[in-house]
């Protein structure tokens, strides 16, 4: 199924893009992140990141659905 991945901050720099469509076979965000990390050399462990699905913070184990927009968020540094 197809999902959209959004990249922010360091992850956007490493990926060289701010979003992309990805064809996934597993519903697990952890599995998707592992694939992306292998591709882009992301520095973060999965557990260091928050997960947002369709613009809402979501549990790490939330199963992905067709058409979801998912973002892996590095620790926030605003303020």
């Amino acid at each position: 199924m197809l999902v959209k991945v959004l990249y922010f901050a360091q992850l956007a720099d490493f990926a060289g893009k701010s979003e992309e469509q990805i064809e996934v076979t597993e519903k697990s965000p952890a599995s998707l992140y592992a694939d992306l990390r292998a591709t882009y050399n992301f520095p973060h462990e999965f557990k260091q990141l928050q997960v947002a699905i369709n613009h809402e913070l979501s549990a790490h184990e939330t199963p992905l659905e067709e058409g979801d927009e998912i973002a892996f968020l590095p620790p926030m540094t605003g303020g």
């Binding site: 901050a9 956007a12 557990k47 997960v51 913070l57 973002a71 590095p74 540094t77 605003g78």
Partner: protein, 154 residues
């Protein structure tokens, strides 16, 4: 909605004016300013990037928590994009009947803004090098822990 992400400079005078109320006796505001140095390096400018579709709901949640705990009115404005030394990165304003609540709520809000609002800061130094800032809080990402930034350990 008492939250705004803006690319234009923050105007604290205009924001303060919106907080005025004849029933409020106390006003506390906090501003984060871009400093000319950080951890020994000379800062030329900052760049804040934000997750614009997520930030408003997080800010709204933080403000609701503060209002419920401290009986205050409050607002948050955060700058995005490139910032120069001396610019205001974030503004928080709080009013209440009494001063104690304004201090507690303002501190609660800015602590949670730094910890929970989906915004990231890149520093560009005078030698043209740059770095995404590592936060001082820990990197554990369980949302259940994020309500109390000062009390959890990882």
């Amino acid at each position: 909605m008492n939250f705004l992400l803006m690319e234009q400079p923050i105007d604290p005078t205009a924001l303060r004016a919106k907080m005025l109320s004849p029933r409020a006796g106390a006003y506390c505001s906090y501003e984060g300013w871009v400093r000319d140095h950080n951890e020994g390096k000379e800062v030329a400018e900052l760049h804040y990037s934000s997750y614009d579709q997520l930030a408003p709901s997080v800010a709204s949640q933080i403000l609701s928590e503060a209002k419920e705990r401290f009986s205050v009115d409050a607002a948050i404005v955060h700058r995005t994009g490139p910032l120069q030394v001396g610019d205001i990165a974030v503004w928080v304003g709080v009013t209440a009947h009494h001063r104690g609540d304004t201090f507690l709520a303002c501190r609660y809000i800015i602590d949670n803004v730094k910890f929970r609002l989906p915004i990231w800061k890149k520093e560009i130094y005078t030698d043209n090098s740059e770095a995404w800032i590592e936060n001082n809080h820990c990197g554990c990402a369980d949302p259940a822990n994020l309500q109390i930034p000062h009390k959890h350990e990882c």
